[in-house]
Symmetry: C2
């Protein structure tokens, strides 16, 4: 039945005001209203339809992306018709986000423009930004190479200064130096910020950024010396196959000297390499910003999956029918709750961590302006750790939500396969998650080792100042409810993290070569880093489910005893019962349109089965009753007369 | 360079005889030779090419599958030309396996034929099997419905006996009773074994199997009263989208009475429901067989992923270069080893568990013949648990291997996205993994509770007979090497599992309604079941990595103390160092062809980067330099003149 809300009985159970929670989730009333307006606008526009894309071949899929990107740009311009125009407004950003299909524009606005803003001189900004803002040029970010991702300092592309012509010669000296992965590069971008080793007079000055034109603005053909293509299919049906991730090689391509991004360091007409008085640490400010965005995106991706799984778990019934009555709602099974509710809690926790990181970014930026670099190492480690923690948990969480939907979660119409495939690269890009955790561990070990010299730990490592106390700590939990006190939970997490760090530091001190020790103990160091990062995010359900999952850490470090561990588990079960009546309302508070969710299982009205059935018939295979290939490949089998058949 | 073995230096390090290990992995010399011959035959046949399928649209992909299936059938017949012919020979099975593309034939041979063999009377077998063996009919297995998967007893399709015409009327009374998911149903099958509630004279006799013709053998059109279609796109690029999983509804379709599968129970001409003297427990024998196959398949899937990740980890270098020398091989990083080597160990462990299950199946079958049902409940619980354990570990393991390959693991040409997408349904089909663990838990709790009545636990639960001793147990490990003794490891796992079971049993006894207690404690029961299943699989590296992962269980149950836990971890690091030089040889022993692996990262010769580069150009997007859609959607952006632009 159209128009009927099959989940109304769930919504009536809610014990809080959903409309208020929507504001909390959005961040402010203004943010809520903007998201609400733009998401509806996108949902109602047939060009932005998503349900047909999974069955398309690569070419059709890509052309469809170009169409959506051009249409999105048109809508952005229309939205601002009455006023001045800027594609960097929140409206434009939200619109691209709700279109929900990776495209070259993500890299143009998200990487190319910010790279020029951050690393270009005022003059360079004045020249290039107006073109980019109006999309008279389209740019991408060409850093990663076939042979180098995480290790940016290992990039091989060269930019050799030629003093005779006042140019740089951009060149790919090896196969592995081919640029590989940049989104928007393969088929669309006219320009790129290319990262290459700066070579002057035979000397290597390390990796720098250069603005390079790739394609003609007339006929779109690659310029001489430039070879470009798409790197081929990636994970998932549509997912990132809407994006032209590219391969690019240079054969001695010349660009004017003033196309090196020179805000931090310059090459003079005479070929002298000089630093400006702009602090190099600015780069870290940008990194904090980018990672804050990634954490915010993690909460969005996880909340979408949780929304789908929660609603469908309320719709779906299986087993437990007595005397022909209704079967049990799947959401009422404790095994379902123990897997789903910690993810629901994580989505909210990550949302608030994202907000806090935004504050941290503002704080860091202001300090940088005042040339105060004191909090930078900690802020850098903290955002690295949170990026790793939230993206890993989100990728795993989306897949868990898919499994929580049973067999139907495997259908593209559930929305979950695409959500997973499009999300998982977040575990790798902007710093591989394990490499990042090792950076965090390095910072933690340093923090511990400097305590004796009176260095005060700052920010999220401040608890280390109480190290003596934390090493003495033993939880005084006596009954399950004690685990509800935020301080009790927090202290247990602090003590665990502190002890794991100290244990690592002690083990490291046994090595005469510290670097060797670091390599040898890397796996333990990663676990200590995880313990520290989890501590930053602690919140009730989330924390207790983690405590249960990592019980070994807590008990083996002597923070809590087995009895207290089982009390935590008991309390967790109580909390699940409290979450249960609010579950559907908690995911309603995300305020996602059915278009954005892109999931029949997660439909707002819960009308799952009729719509699943209806959707099936749209597959291209159902265009004809007898499939293409029947005459060639099926009929001959059926008509074949086999001799010698043994039965 | 073609022909050069870039991994030769790794292969030279091996400390064991790879050729001997190939025989061990294959099971016997005969099995090895058969696999080797058939896999090469498939690899050398251009029709079986796989590298182009990811970029195809649904229709082309499906037609390509029909072509491969027809060609595979032709090759099977040719292989047996000189002798008698049977498609059930190992050759035929292997050939389909190495073609490595899900197709309707999997269900025809794997489900339709066995259903008739297992549940059909002799007469029914004589009528239907010859047709099926020659593929003069093509069948599928129509059990799952839109609204019911795990709960088979909840199926809604009805088969009502009409004594007037001596027919059954097959009918879909509701939308949710539509058959949904059966592979091969959507576009190909001419027949199906349909599961439906048997209704005689208004009385419901539960779910039974019926042979139903679906399509005309002349024009392939659905017969009157039958509506069939494909259910649409699923997870992954090609993956299961090569399969026509279908939807099917019946509108009072009539079949003769003798098309009910009547080996176990019959309906007479008069409409009397009678049981034959064939034991119903036969069904469980089949279940043991199917699950044994699933465990064997798990080791194959996991070993493919591990093979790719191990070889590429040896090829790939990142960081650690000093003075311009080579960077460090990724496989030398401890974090990489601590993630990869336990999976390598798991693949081998699962292989041997699969062999053992084959023995168990033989044993169960012989006992069934002798009407000895005593070991059946334990065998049933054991295979359920191992199915759950190995498929979950394999799905997670494949994704972990993908991440271990860094960014390139996200490319379809790595082979890993497809391997994951095609594998994950194994966690859901033939019993949802969590539902299965609850069955195991039920069996364990029952076993514990019956100890006092003198019931001797059998099979994998035999250790429960030593319950008193296991409850007293405390590990006597004093140094890291102690963890190398198999008995030491085994006892720790036994004690942990026993204590977790006893704790569950004790908590259950606090509930006046046992079923309510079972629901409430479901999450703990699942963990106890996992502990028991892991015990069955224990082997060195595998066990110690599990012990580290589930340290909380071991310490909180008092089996080991924290010091012993950290000794286990130390020993694990030692073991990794021992595995390291043998890693590549250990995956070579799987003897997979490059065609079967379907991965550029996992190529035998390690020649990864040139081939990745070469492969990229095959994507359809690279057919033209300027992409389709440029004139409509890109050029207008670039040429647009925006007024009012704010910069």
């Amino acid at each position: 039945m159209e128009g009927v809300d099959h989940l109304a009985f769930e919504r009536n159970k809610a014990q809080f005001d959903v409309d208020e929670m929507k504001i909390v989730w959005a961040g402010s009333r203004e943010d809520f209203e903007l998201s609400d307006r733009i998401s509806r606008l996108v949902a109602s526009d047939p060009v932005f339809r998503k349900d047909d894309r999974a069955a398309l071949g690569r070419k059709e899929l890509f052309k469809n992306t170009l169409r959506k990107a051009a249409h999105a740009w048109k809508r952005v311009i229309e939205l601002r018709l009455s006023g001045e125009f800027s594609a960097l407004e929140p409206e434009a950003y939200k619109l691209r986000a709700f279109v929900d299909q990776p495209a070259f524009t993500d890299l143009h606005w998200g990487m190319f423009v910010p790279a020029i803003q951050g690393q270009g001189t005022d003059e360079q900004q004045q020249k290039w930004l107006p073109l980019a803002y109006r999309m008279q040029i389209i740019g991408c970010y060409a850093q990663t190479e076939l042979g180098h991702g995480s290790n940016v300092q290992g990039l091989e592309t060269t930019a050799t200064f030629d003093p005779k012509t006042d140019e740089f010669v951009i060149h790919s000296p090896t196969l592995t130096s081919s640029k590989w992965w940049p989104g928007g590069l393969g088929k669309v971008s006219t320009h790129a910020v290319v990262y290459a080793r700066l070579i002057i007079d035979g000397q290597d000055y390390g990796v720098h950024g250069f603005i390079v034109q790739l394609r003609s603005l007339d006929d779109h053909l690659p310029l001489p010396g430039i070879t470009i293509g798409d790197i081929g299919m990636k994970f998932g049906n549509a997912a990132y196959n809407t994006m032209d991730n590219g391969v690019l090689t240079f054969d001695h391509v010349r660009i004017p000297r003033n196309q090196m991004l020179m805000r931090v360091s310059q090459v003079t007409r005479e070929g002298k390499y000089v630093h400006s008085n702009v602090p190099r640490q600015l780069v870290y400010g940008t990194m904090v910003y980018v990672r804050q965005k990634i954490v915010a995106d993690a909460s969005v991706a996880l909340s979408r999956a949780v929304c789908i799984a929660t609603r469908y778990s309320a719709v779906r019934r299986q087993f437990g029918s007595h005397n022909g009555g209704l079967e049990t709602q799947v959401i009422d099974y404790k095994t379902q709750q123990s897997r789903l509710f910690p993810l629901l809690a994580s989505a909210y926790a990550f949302r608030f961590v994202g907000e806090w990181l935004l504050w941290l970014y503002t704080d860091v930026t202001e300090r940088l302006k005042a040339k105060d670099f004191s909090t930078l190492p900690e802020a850098h480690a903290c955002t690295a750790g949170l990026k790793s923690l939230t993206t890993t948990a989100t990728a795993d969480g989306i897949e868990e939500c898919r499994k929580l939907c049973g067999g139907h979660g495997y259908l593209c119409s559930s929305g979950l396969p695409e959500l997973f495939a499009v999300y998982v690269p977040a575990c790798t890009y902007e710093g591989d998650n394990i490499v990042l955790l090792l950076q965090v561990a390095r910072h933690l070990v340093k923090t511990v080792s400097q305590l004796s010299t009176g260095n005060k730990p700052v920010g999220t490592t401040a608890y280390m100042a109480r190290l003596e106390q934390l090493l003495q700590y033993h939880s005084d939990v006596k009954k399950a409810e004690d685990w509800l006190k935020p301080n009790v939970v927090l202290e247990a997490f602090e003590a665990r993290a502190a002890r794991m760090c100290v244990a690592c530091a002690q083990n490291l001190s046994k090595f005469s070569n510290p670097e060797e020790g670091f390599q040898e103990l890397a796996a333990d160091l990663v676990e200590a880093a995880v313990a520290h990062c989890q501590l930053i995010v602690v919140s009730n359900v989330y924390a207790l489910s983690l405590l249960h999952k990592h019980l070994g850490d807590f008990i083996s470090t002597g923070c809590i005893d087995p009895k207290q561990g089982s009390l935590a588990n008991e309390q967790l079960r109580n909390l699940y019962s409290q979450v249960r009546p609010n579950a559907v309302a908690l995911v309603d508070a995300y305020n996602y349109t059915d278009h954005y969710l892109g999931s029949i299982l997660g439909r707002y009205d819960g009308n799952v089965y009729p719509k699943l059935y209806e959707e099936a018939w749209k597959d291209p295979l159902n265009d004809s009753i007898v499939p293409d290939g029947f005459k060639e490949y099926i009929q001959p089998l059926l008509k074949q007369q086999l001799r010698n058949a043994r039965l």
